[in-house]
Each structure stands twice: as C-alpha cells, then as structure tokens.
C-alpha cells in the first residue's frame, strides 16, 4: 500500500507542478498546444483554441484543474475523484497529440513508443490510484471517511430511534 501512496504523490507532484507553473507564467495559454493538435480530434481542439470564450474556460480549467488534482493526490483528499479527473485530463492531452502511427507532430513529444507514451502510462497509473484506497490509508480521506461513516452512523441511529 505504501508504494501506491508513493505513486500517488509522484503523480500529484507532476500535476501540481504543471498547474503552479501555468499560474506563474502570466502569458501562459493553452492555445498554442491546442492549435498544434494532431490526429482524429484535431478539429475539436483547434475549434477550442479559436473560440475565445471556450479558450478562457479551457485555460481556467487547466490551471485550477491541474493544481487541485495535484493537491488532491498529494494530500490523499478526494483521491478517487482526483484520480479519475486527472486521468480524464491526461486523456485529453493524449488525444490532442496521439502517438498514432502515421501522424507526424511538430511539438516535442516526451517518450513516444508506438501508441504508448508518457501520458498513457500516467493514465493507467491514475486508474490504479482510483480503484485502490491509498487515500484512506495515508491521506485526508482517512479522516473524511471516518467523519462520513460517523455521520451516517449517528443519522442511522436517530432514524432507528425514531421508529422504535
């Protein structure tokens, strides 16, 4: 279980860095990345980049999403939600520049090994985090879970008492 916590923290660290970095760099925008999209969903991503309102939302969600998911994973807080949301975001990155055979990208791709790349590995790892309980082992989820079961327990008792 401790190894899963380590895996969770490392992925969380990566998300947090990506998020914080975008906050620090005032001029950051997803538009360049979206415009450089290749593959079957390129049209969708290009449309996002070229629609100012959508782009604002995309930028906002990227910055806050990455930061919050990073915090969630590191602290083990709403771990499952963070992991699933994280996997979804990385999946978007994966499909914006998919390492499919026959597509040639001008953006630097980190680790690209025939269909599998760094993003895909991270998605798979996030699924492992989502289906295990590392947050309840080491993380805020342990406290949250206790609070939740306590509340549920006392609520159940009240109901029971009322009917008795």
């Amino acid at each position: 279980m401790i190894s899963l916590v380590v895996l969770r923290i490392i992925i969380g660290w990566h998300f947090l860095y990506e998020g914080v970095y975008k906050f620090q760099k005032e001029t950051w925008s997803a538009s360049g990345y979206l415009k450089a999209a290749k593959g079957p969903l390129a049209g969708l991503f290009n449309w996002m980049a070229n629609t100012p309102d959508i782009l604002t939302v995309v930028n906002f969600m990227n910055m806050w999403g990455l930061t919050l998911i990073g915090l969630g994973l590191i602290l083990g807080c709403f771990t499952r939600l963070s992991a699933i949301a994280g996997a979804f975001m990385v999946a978007l990155y994966y499909f914006s520049n998919p390492p499919f055979i026959g597509y040639f990208s001008s953006t630097a791709l980190e680790g690209n090994y025939l269909l599998v790349n760094k993003n895909l590995v991270e998605i798979a790892a996030l699924f492992v985090i989502a289906v295990t309980y590392s947050g309840r082992y080491l993380g805020f989820d342990r406290i949250l879970h206790r609070l939740f079961t306590m509340m549920k327990g006392s609520k159940g008792a009240e109901v029971k008492g009322a009917t008795a």
């Binding site: 660290w13 620090q24 590191i74 080491l138 989820d141 406290i143």
Partner: protein, 478 residues
C-alpha cells in the same frame, strides 16, 4: 484472491472499520503526506531563485546615472567611421556637440553638420582643425576618426590645446608616432582613449570578468583562433560633383581622389585589413590572455586585387606565440577579403572549455562549451553566469559516427548578455564618463600602443617571410 482474504487485507490496510470515532492514529495518517507540499514549495523556491539569477544576469546592462555634467564635443574626421561614432554619440545623453572638422567640406562635413543640426545641436563646420581649436574654446573633448596617418598630429594638437581625445584605432600607422601620442597624453595630463571598442562591450567585459576570471570556465587557454573574413569589394567610389581638387588633396597627403577614398589600402596612410580588422580582435587576444606575444609569424600577400588600387596585403594568416602565467599559448588569426565565410569571431580554447565570441549580433555564437572531462558547471548555471546547456538530441547519424577516438561533443552554454546598442556606444560612454572623472578609460593610450606594436609587426613579418621576435621593451614607453 478469495473474498475473505481480500477483506482481511483491506482491514489490515485501512484499520478497524465500522462505527468508531477518529483517533490519534487516524489524524496522523490523515495528514501524513502534508510535508510533501512543504518539500514542493522548497523545490519551487530554489528553482525560482535560479531563474531569477539568470534573469538578473540578462538584464545587467550598464545603467547610466542621470543628470551628468554636460561634455562639449567636437569631431575631426567624419567619413564612414566618423558617422558611425556620430550616430552612437547621438544616443548618449548630456553631450553638447559644438564643432565638426573634415577636409571633404562639400560632402562629409555638410552631411554631419546637418545631422547634428537636425538633432538640435548648433555645430560649426571647419576644414582646418587648427582653426577649430583656436575658435572653439569651450570644447572638453575631441573625437578623432581621420585616416591613421593623421591620428598623431590631430590627437597631439588637441591634447596640447587642453582637450581630452578619443582616437580611432589604429592609434597610428607608425610606432614612432604612437609613442609621441602616449607621451603627449602623459605630459598634458589629458585622457587619450583608443577606439578598440570591444574593451567596453558589455559582452566582452562579462566574458573577461565572469566567465574567465570569476568562474575560470576555460581553465588554461592554450590556443586561440579568430578571423575576419570579408566578401570581395570594389574600391570605394565618389560622385564627380563632390570631387576635391588635386592641389588640396596633395596638401593633405593624398595622391588623388581614389586614394583619398581608399586610404586604408595604401602604404604610408593605413595598414590594410590586418590593421583595420585584425587589430580589434588581436587586442582581445592579449587582454584575455593577460600577456603580450613573444613572437609573430605570418603569411600573406596581394593575392587577389591589383597593387595599383590595393597596396596592402589582401590576405593575411598570422600565428602569435604567448607566454602566459599559466604556460605557453598560440593564437591564430586570419583576415581575407575574397570570401566572407563565418564572418568575424574570436575563439578561446582552454583545457576546460571553449569561448566563442563576436562583436557581431548577426552571426554570433556567443557561447561557452564545456569540455567533457571538465568538472560540471551546475554552480555557474545556478548563479546565472552561463545558461543551462542546450539539449542536443542524438540522432542515428551522430550515434553511428561517434567512435572511440572521438571526444563526446561538449555542452553548449550561452552567454546571457543581450547587447543591442550601437557597438561603439559603451566605449564612447566610458570615455565621456572618464572625462567627467567618474570612470577609468578602458583602453588608454598605453594599451593602444601595445596593440599597435603587436599588429603593425604582422605586415613586417609577411614582408620578412620569417618569424619575428618581440622583446618586452617593444611594448613599453619610458
């Protein structure tokens, strides 16, 4: 895995389930990963401080104090080089231009007088520098950009008239006259800055002070290589209507208009490409090595142009030998005027690294390369002395080529100095601030003399066809 075992494992991991309060163990395990955030903050802060150091190094230009006293300036000689200096000076605040002197009254003089007037300066034009010095009593400083063989007479007269002088290089076309200039500067107590402008260039100063002296990134410099290559050029022409009468030209030492326009190529007037171009860079060799050469050998000749129009050698290949504090060093220099390949640069090769430097912003590399055997430079990257190394991707071709006899290619680190001012501006600024008593000259007459002694000897070595020795006293003026 059986269901029973799974439940057991889960219990083991998550502790006792079911209805119970939050105990101390829950709290501790709940916040156990919180310190990771502290670690992240620490790492981010460290990274940020390195980035700030790099940024600070980048923006570290020479900031001028405001409200400096005004310096009254005149120019003697406003041909092509005089115009370069004029345009650089017009970007320097707190200068008042009062007079301009040039013998080409119908062309150069008119042009520069009107340029100054357009910039709001009331300047008087003169043909004769003596008349100018007589009439312009307010002058503090004179900037001289006449042909080399006139430098001594002009500079000496100005200093004797109580003016500080900025004189273009080559200081003089003869060492005898250069010596007289140094002596006059000493006798009159007037400043004499020689126009080896790289001595004030922020990039060169940075490389000398930081890269070589502070960080010693090159280790021991054993060899130097440098060049100034130029494409084929026609002789400079002139419009008929601006022709100077022959009698007047002769009075000022020129045979005809063609020679007046192309004086750099004529013996007795200039020194040819090795003096015009090489002088700047050979000056830097001595500066960075902290030594003067012990010998020079050179090959060169009139390989391409006719000696009727181009008397001096159009091609020169030179080898200097130095004895530095750290040991012997050899320096190669070439200048040729038939092919512009790779333009101009200086390359200092030490046992720890290589520095490739150029005054040019256009085709400049301006980087340091770490020898693969040298200690890592992380400390200097952190301090912002050089940038992080450029990532070099290994391609199949380079991987296949690299065999045991080859050294691994060195890391490339850029010099973090952006310099976009006119090349001559910092050197002129250093001169004017020295006139105000705020700075010391970066290239006083004594240094100009040493460089002239080094460079004028190249033409002698080509003529002699053998190695010529330097004696320490060749560079000294007692």
């Amino acid at each position: 895995m059986s269901e029973e075992k799974e439940n057991r494992d889960r219990k083991e991991v998550l502790g006792k389930q079911g209805k119970r309060g939050i105990d101390r163990r829950d709290l501790l395990q709940g916040v156990a990963t919180l310190p990771v955030l502290g670690l992240f903050g620490l790492a981010a802060r460290q990274q940020k401080s390195y980035e700030n150091a790099q940024k600070a190094a980048l923006s570290g230009g020479t900031k001028q104090p405001e409200n400096l006293p005004v310096v009254n300036v005149a120019q003697i000689g406003v041909g092509a080089q005089g115009e370069v200096l004029r345009d650089a000076m017009l970007k320097i605040p707190n200068l008042k231009f009062r007079a301009v002197c040039d013998i080409w009254t119908d062309y150069s003089l008119k042009r520069t007088v009107s340029t100054y007037q357009r910039a709001g300066h009331e300047v008087n034009g003169y043909e004769d520098y003596r008349e100018m010095l007589d009439k312009e009593k307010e002058l503090d400083a004179v900037v001289i950009a006449t042909p080399d063989f006139w430098h001594a007479e002009h500079a000496i007269a100005c200093m004797q008239a109580g003016k500080h002088v900025y004189c273009e290089k080559e200081m003089s076309n003869t060492l005898e006259n250069a010596r007289k200039m140094v002596l006059t500067s000493r006798e009159t107590g007037k400043l004499l800055q020689i126009g080896h402008q790289r001595r004030s260039n922020p990039r060169y100063l940075y490389c000398y002070n930081k890269v070589i002296k502070e960080a010693n990134l090159l280790g021991r410099i054993v060899t130097i290589n440098g060049q100034w290559n130029r494409a084929v050029q026609e002789s400079l022409g002139y419009a008929k209507r601006y022709e100077i009468p022959d009698a007047k030209l002769k009075q000022y030492g020129f045979k005809d208009m063609q020679q007046f326009r192309n004086w750099r190529w004529f013996k007795g007037l200039g020194g040819g490409p090795i003096v015009d171009l090489g002088s700047h860079q050979i000056d830097i060799y001595a500066w960075f090595l902290g030594a003067l050469p012990t010998s020079v050998m050179a090959s060169g000749g009139n390989d391409y142009y006719s000696t009727a129009t181009n008397e001096w050698y159009d091609t020169a290949m030179v080898i200097y030998e130095f004895q530095t504090e750290k040991g012997p060093a050899r320096a190669y220099y070439q200048t040729q005027t038939t092919n512009s390949s790779l333009g101009y640069f200086e390359k200092f090769m030490g046992d720890q690294g290589t520095l490739v430097l150029s005054e040019s912003n256009a085709n400049a590399v301006n980087a340091v390369y770490r020898e693969s055997a040298a200690p890592v430079w992380d400390e200097w990257v952190q301090k912002g002395i050089v940038t992080a190394p450029k990532v070099i991707e290994t391609t199949d071709e380079t991987a296949a080529l690299l065999d045991v006899r080859e050294s691994a290619s060195p890391d490339e680190h850029k010099i973090p100095v952006v310099f976009t001012d006119p090349y001559h501006k910092p050197h002129l600024q250093n001169f004017f601030n020295s006139v105000r008593g705020l700075e010391k000259l970066n290239c006083p007459a004594e240094i100009g003399y040493e460089t002239a002694a080094m460079v004028l000897k190249v033409n002698e070595a080509i003529q002699a066809g053998r190695k010529l020795e330097f004696k320490p006293e060749d560079f000294k003026i007692s």
